[in-house]
C-alpha cells in the first residue's frame, strides 16, 4: 500500500515549512506519494485581498515559479526517497459565512486556475486538465478558530458529479457524513506545521505513478485511511 498525503501547504502560501524541508520531512518518514497543494485564494473579497497582500496565496504571476520548483523537488525526491510528488493547489473560496465557503484541491494541475471563477468553470477547467478534484474538510471541524467550509456539502446535489473524492478525514477530524453518503474519499493532513506529519493519511493499493493513483482515487477501490502516528 502506498502511504500518501494529498493535502500539504508550504511557505508558498500559509504553511510554516519551506518546500524542500517539507519534501525531506515526508521523504525521511517513508511516504510514497505527496501532493503539494498551496492555496490559491479568491481575490474578490477582503479575505482574498489580505491573503494576496501577505503572500499567503499562489497567484497567476507566481504559479510558473511554483510549478517549476515543485518539478525540481519532485526529481530530487524521486531519486533520493522514491517519493512521488504531485503538483496541486487548494482553490480557496473564503467568506464570512461557512455556508458560502469552500476549499477544493486540484491535484495534478497543469495551468493556473483563478479562485475567483465560479465553481462550474473551475470544475470544467480542472477536468480539461485531467486534474483530480477533492473537496477538502467538507463538513464541521473541531477547530473553533477555523471558518468551516460547507458550501460544497450543502450543494452536493449540484456539484458531487464533478468531485472525484471528498476528504473523509482531515488532520485530526473525521467527517462521517462522507461514509454515510458513500461518496469516494481520501484523507489528508492539511499540513501547515511539522507536527501535522502525524495525522490522517491515505493508503492506496496501486502502482506508484500519476495515472494509477488518479485512477485508484476516482474508482475508490483500494483506498484506505490511516491515522499516521509515531
Amino acid at each position: 500500500m502506498l502511504l500518501c498525503d494529498f493535502h500539504i501547504h508550504t511557505k508558498y502560501s500559509d504553511g510554516s515549512v519551506g518546500l524542500r524541508r517539507t519534501v525531506d520531512l515526508f521523504g525521511q518518514a517513508g511516504f510514497d506519494v505527496i501532493a503539494i497543494t498551496d492555496h490559491v485564494v479568491n481575490g474578490d473579497n477582503p479575505f482574498g485581498k489580505l491573503a494576496n497582500r501577505f503572500k499567503f496565496s499562489v497567484t497567476g504571476e507566481s504559479f510558473e515559479t511554483y510549478m517549476s520548483d515543485i518539478a525540481e523537488e519532485a526529481e530530487r525526491a524521486w531519486d533520493r526517497y522514491g517519493l512521488l510528488i504531485i503538483p496541486g493547489v487548494e482553490i480557496t473560496k473564503n467568506s464570512f459565512s461557512s455556508d458560502k465557503s469552500a476549499h477544493l484541491l486540484l491535484i495534478d494541475i497543469k495551468e493556473f486556475i483563478p479562485a475567483s471563477w465560479d465553481y462550474e468553470k473551475i470544475f470544467l477547467e480542472a477536468k480539461k486538465q485531467d486534474a483530480l478534484i477533492v473537496a477538502c474538510h467538507p463538513h464541521r471541524t473541531s477547530d473553533k478558530t477555523f471558518v468551516d467550509t460547507l458550501f460544497l456539502w450543502n450543494n452536493r446535489d449540484k456539484y458531487a458529479r464533478y468531485i472525484d473524492a471528498w476528504e473523509i478525514a482531515n488532520r485530526d477530524d473525521v467527517f462521517n457524513v462522507i461514509s454515510l453518503k458513500k461518496y469516494p474519499y481520501i484523507a489528508g493532513s492539511d499540513f501547515h506545521k511539522v507536527r501535522h506529519l502525524y495525522s490522517w493519511k491515505s493508503l492506496l493499493n496501486c502502482k506508484k505513478d500519476m495515472e494509477s493513483i488518479k485512477q485508484c482515487i476516482r474508482s475508490n477501490w483500494g483506498v484506505a485511511i490511516t491515522l499516521f502516528r509515531n
Partner: protein
C-alpha cells in the same frame, strides 16, 4: 556574606572543571595521523555486522540509515531489527533496502520479550542472524560518513582492545527542544565524556555506537546479561573492562541528528539519563550540580536578591559559558548558528532544576513503557502501588503548570 563567598567558590570550581572539559575535548579530538598527515585507518578491516535496532521514526531516519549503506569498507553487513512490521520505521528501512539492492542488508522482524530493556530485546534476533565475528551496535538516530567503519575498526587491530565507542555531536536543531538537546550533547555530555576519559581514565560508553568482538561479548554473558538494565551500554563496557580489556573512545564524532524535538522530549530524556547516573554513580551524582556553574551562579541571586555582586557573578558565568560552548561547537565543527549559543545558560539552568528529579522519582518512561529503576539501573515492572504517591505528586505538579 560567608555563604555568598562559599557559593562563589563553588561557581569558580564549576568554571575550572568546565575549562578542563574544554581542554579534554581538544585533546580527544587531536586526530591520529600517519607521517604523510593522513588519518590512520584500519589496515586489517575485519568483516563487521552492523546491527541497528529500530523503533519508530527518528528525525532524518532515511538519511541516517542510508549513511550505513554507503560505507567505504570491504566487507560488512547491515541488519535492521524491528519488533513489529507495523512500526512506521519498517516502511523507511524497506525503501533504504530497495535503494541499495546490491548491499548486504537484512531486515529482521521478531517480537521478543526476553527482558525489560526494549532496545536489548530488539537486538537478540539481529545478533542471532549476524554472520561476522565483530558486531557494531548502532542507534537509529546516528548519521555517519563513508569512512566511519574504517576509522572505528582501527583500534580493534589491537587485541587488547575489547570495545570501541564514539564521541557524539548533536546536529540539526530546528525547534527549541532539539536546540537544547544539541547544545547539551555538544557541551555537557561531550565535555564530561572527554574529562572522565582523559583525566580519570574512566571511559564512558555511550550506546549510540559500540564495536566489539562477539567472543568478548559472549565471554561476559552476552546480551542476556544486560537484558534487564536500562544502561546496557555502560554495563557492557564495565564487563569488558572487567575482562582486562580496554575500552577505547574513538575521536570520530558521530552525528546525532535531532531536528524537531519538543521541550518535553528533551526533558524526558535528560531526566531519564539523570536517573541512570544517579543509580549508577550514587554519591558521585551529587557532584554534578557543582559542575553546572550557571545553576550555581543563580543561587546567590536566589538567596541574596538582585545586587550588584550577584548580577555580576551570574552575567560573568553566562558570558563564559556562551563563549565556551561556542568554542566547543567550533572544535567539533557543528553548523550551529552563533546566536543559538545565547540559549546555553537557559539550558543549563533548566538542567540544574531537572537535576533534582532523579532524587525523588525512580520511575522511567522509555519507548512508551513505564518501569521502576533499581540499583545499577535494573528495571522492573512499575507497580502502581509503589509509584503511586510519587506519581500523584508529579501528576499534580504537571497539572498545575498545565504540562
Amino acid at each position: 556574606m560567608v555563604l555568598f563567598w562559599v557559593l562563589v567558590v563553588l561557581v569558580f570550581f564549576g568554571l575550572v572543571i568546565y575549562g578542563l572539559q574544554i581542554v579534554a575535548v581538544r585533546l580527544a579530538l587531536s586526530p591520529a595521523r600517519n607521517r604523510e598527515g593522513h588519518p590512520i585507518l584500519s589496515q586489517s578491516c575485519p568483516p563487521i555486522s552492523v546491527i541497528k535496532p529500530l523503533k519508530g521514526l527518528e528525525d532524518n531516519l532515511f538519511g541516517n540509515l542510508e549513511s550505513f549503506c554507503l560505507q567505504d569498507y570491504p566487507e560488512y553487513e547491515v541488519i535492521f531489527s524491528l519488533q513489529d512490521e507495523n512500526d512506521p520505521a519498517y516502511k523507511v528501512v524497506r525503501k533504504v533496502k530497495e535503494k541499495f539492492p546490491n548491499k548486504p542488508i537484512s531486515i529482521v522482524i521478531e517480537r521478543c520479550h526476553h527482558g525489560f530493556n526494549p532496545k536489548v530485546n530488539n537486538l537478540f534476533s539481529a545478533y542471532r542472524l549476524s554472520r561476522y565475528p565483530m558486531i557494531l551496535i548502532s542507534d537509529s538516530n546516528v548519521m555517519v560518513d563513508p569512512h566511519y567503519l574504517r576509522t572505528i575498526a582501527k583500534p580493534m587491530d589491537d587485541p587488547e582492545v575489547g570495545l570501541v565507542c564514539n564521541l557524539i555531536k548533536g546536529i540539526g536543531g530546528k525547534t527549541i527542544g532539539s536546540i537544547f538537546e544539541n547544545l547539551h550533547l555538544n557541551s555537557f555530555i561531550l565535555g564530561n565524556i572527554c574529562f572522565l576519559d582523559k583525566y580519570l581514565k574512566i571511559p564512558c560508553v555511550v550506546g549510540k555506537s559500540m564495536l566489539m568482538r562477539k567472543r568478548d561479548l559472549e565471554a561476559v554473558g552476552g546480551l542476556a546479561s544486560v537484558k534487564d538494565v536500562l544502561a546496557e551500554d555502560h554495563f557492557i563496557g564495565e564487563k569488558i573492562r572487567g575482562q582486562n580489556q580496554r575500552v577505547v573512545i574513538s575521536n570520530y564524532l558521530i552525528n546525532n541528528v535531532n531536528e524537531y524535538w519538543n521541550l518535553r522530549k528533551f526533558i524526558n530524556r535528560h531526566v531519564r539519563w539523570g536517573k541512570m547516573r544517579w543509580k549508577i554513580g550514587g554519591v558521585k551524582y551529587l557532584l554534578e550540580l557543582t559542575i553546572n556553574p550557571v545553576f550555581t551562579a543563580c543561587l546567590p541571586l536566589l538567596l541574596f536578591g538582585l545586587t550588584e555582586k550577584t548580577i555580576f557573578v551570574l552575567t560573568l558565568v553566562c558570558v563564559i559559558k556562551i563563549i565556551g560552548d561556542f568554542y566547543l561547537g567550533r572544535c567539533i565543527s557543528t553548523p550551529t548558528h552563533p546566536s543559538v549559543y545565547l540559549l546555553s545558560p537557559i539550558k543549563d539552568l533548566l538542567m540544574g532544576v531537572l537535576w533534582f528529579v532523579p532524587l525523588a522519582d525512580d520511575t522511567v518512561v522509555w519507548r512508551g513503557n513505564r518501569y521502576l529503576m533499581g540499583k545499577d539501573t535494573r528495571l522492573s515492572l512499575c507497580s502502581e502501588r509503589g509509584a503511586e504517591w510519587k506519581t500523584r505528586i508529579l501528576e499534580g505538579i504537571k497539572a498545575k503548570i498545565a504540562w
